[in-house]
Each structure stands twice: as structure tokens, then as C-alpha cells.
Assembly symmetry: C2
Homo-oligomer: 200 residues x 2
């Protein structure tokens, strides 16, 4: 016999981050009692997103096309690439700053202990992009954690090999913090006052 | 051109109570990055629940069958009916107490100012159940708000007409509070020490 649809809904809602037994219950009842159209719309949106959203072929951000909206936008500059750890960081920078260059989404950070090496971060793809003569600057916007810093160091060496100028977000991003959770104005300030790394 | 699947997912997630722009983003990225199976499972569960879950024909609780699991359970007693405002209250009482009788879910409370009268709470259905000779007690577990108390008063008069004993949850449920948000032990205590209403 199939699971009860209500229990199954409670169980399934708990795959959402931050949703425990109690909020799952509240969500299920709210949809059933007051917003079945919203529930059906969410079902369709999830289905479509899980099926169609893949990695952008040039920057590895999420997109339902071969290339993402930012990579396809002709009005943006090819001279600057901003490397970030996750798609959430792209959204945060887009919302907080007037940056009009391109991105590269690492989808992680170097972490030898967890077996995460350069190939897992698509660094061959990034290296190919850095070798394009149009690229003048790489902004390294990895998190200011130990692994984020190690990744930044690795990216800097790579950019040096291709004579691409390197900058890192200015102090202002809290040490040990996650970019994604930085408030907008701190992030905007740090982005605007980014400094060239010594020696590049 | 159709909306971007990622934006559409963000938008759709916000129909969930307590989910703002930021948590919608976190949820969407988490599912896309780490749990697409969970996302697909949630899509199916929502679809099924929104389509199949209806009101129980005897107690008005949510169910995917004609009669809910509690109403179908032969081991439960027909002698006591507990009237609550919402399906969430049924879940709360089931989880906190050893109650083994039946329920009646009002799906609201009397509120003449909002145009909510007895017919909106299915009180004809409840009256039919109270007229069954097997029923000896009606536990009124409406919230201790003004409207919950007005509803309790109305239910009590109805039970009196059918010679059904009436009880109300004991003090312990915080005044002005919502049953659904009461902690388990307070709710269990109040449920166990319910008192007959004077005159019934
Ligand atoms: Zn892209
Ligand atoms: Zn029922």
C-alpha cells in the first residue's frame, strides 16, 4: 500500500534546508487549506527546474540554456572575470554591486583533505578563459575561510601564468565568514574597494 | 518567452509560509546542487497531495480517502468526540496525548464580523454525530481566543440539546494563545486535567 499522501508530503518537505517536522506540518497545512494553486505551481516549478537546469558551459553557473543569461549578455565586459565559490555568491554580487563583467563559479573550494582538487572546480575551463587575450583582470571572490584562501592562492598563480591582473575583495568581508551571508552594504563596499594582490 | 526556470522556482517557493526571498534562494540552490532527487520527490508529493487530499466525510480532517485514518480506526472509541479548530490541532493532540476517541475539525471558529457562521464550520455534520446515542462526551478544544471561546459556548449549547456531556481543556493552555503552538507537555497536562463545564 502506498504511503499516505499527507505523510509523504511532510516527509518530502523536509528535504528543504531549514525545514523540520514542525515547519513541514505548517507548510503542508497552509497549502492544503489556503493555497492549492500555489502548491501545484511549486510542484511544476520543481519538476521543471530539477529536469532542465544544468551548468553553464562557460561559467558553470546554473542555467536552463547551454550558456547562462550573464554569459549571453553582450553588454557585459569580457575584460574582467570574477571567480566565486557558488551560484549564491553570483546572486549576492549581482544584487549588491554594479559589476558588469563575467563570472566563474567554482562550485566548491580546494580541499585536499576532502579529496577536492583543481579538476573538481573546473579549473581547466577557467584556465582556458584566462588564456583569452581579452581578459585583463581576475577578481577572486572566494570566501575568507582557510580553504577559500588556499583556493585564492591557487587561482592567483594560474592568473599570473597568463599575465592576468589579480584582485581580491577588500577587507570588510568578515574574516571566517561566508560571502553568501554577508549583508549587502558590506559586500558592496568590499567589492568596490578591492585591491590588487601584491606582486601582480 | 517562458519565465526562467530558476526565477520561477524562487517565485514558487515563496508560496510556502515563512519563506522569503533569501530562504527561497537557499532552498533552490540546495536542491539543485545537492538533492535533485529530493526536489523531484517533493514535486510528486505536492502534485499528489494537492490533487487527492480532501475533507474526511465524517470529521472534516484532511485525508486522501473518503474517511480519514482516525475515523476508520475500529480500535478508537466512539464515546468521545474532540472538537478542534484545525487539522494542526488534531496532529498536536495526537502527538501529545493518549486520546483514543474521535475528532471533529471545525476549520475555523465562529466570527460573525468576518461572516463565519455555524454552516461554515460544518456544525450540522457535528450535530448529526452528537445525536448518535453512542456519543457521551464532547471535548471542546478550540483555542482560548475570544472567537474560540464564543465557538466553545455555541458547541456547548448544541451538546446540551443532545444530552452529551461537555468538557473543555483545563487551564494550562496559555490565555490568548494558539493550541497549535503550545508545547507538548503543557498541552498533555491540559488535556489530561480537562474539567466538566459547570451545568453540564
Ligand atoms: Zn555562464
Ligand atoms: Zn475523519
Amino acid at each position: 500500500m502506498a504511503a499516505d499522501p499527507f505523510d509523504e508530503l511532510l516527509e518530502a518537505l523536509r528535504c528543504l534546508p531549514g525545514v523540520g517536522a514542525r515547519s513541514a506540518q505548517r507548510m503542508a497545512l497552509e497549502l492544503l487549506e489556503r493555497d492549492r494553486d500555489g502548491g501545484r505551481r511549486l510542484a511544476r516549478a520543481l519538476e521543471t527546474a530539477m529536469r532542465d537546469i544544468q551548468r553553464c558551459a562557460s561559467c558553470r553557473n546554473f542555467t536552463a540554456s547551454e550558456h547562462c543569461r550573464i554569459c549571453r549578455d553582450d553588454r557585459r565586459s569580457d575584460r574582467v572575470i570574477c571567480a566565486v565559490e557558488s551560484p549564491a555568491d553570483v546572486l549576492a554580487i549581482e544584487q549588491a554591486t554594479g559589476f558588469d563583467g563575467r563570472y566563474f563559479v567554482l562550485l566548491g573550494r580546494l580541499s585536499p583533505l576532502d579529496g577536492i582538487g583543481p579538476e573538481d572546480l573546473g579549473l581547466d575551463l577557467l584556465e582556458a578563459r584566462l588564456s583569452d587575450a581579452a581578459v585583463e583582470e581576475l577578481i577572486i571572490a572566494t570566501n575568507t575561510t582557510v580553504e577559500g584562501e588556499a583556493t585564492a592562492y591557487y587561482l592567483r598563480e594560474m592568473a599570473d601564468r597568463h599575465d592576468v591582473r589579480v584582485s581580491r575583495l577588500a577587507q570588510g568581508v568578515p574574516l571566517g565568514g561566508e560571502l553568501e551571508h554577508t549583508d549587502r552594504s558590506t559586500l558592496a563596499h568590499a567589492f568596490a574597494s578591492r585591491l590588487p594582490l601584491a606582486g601582480s
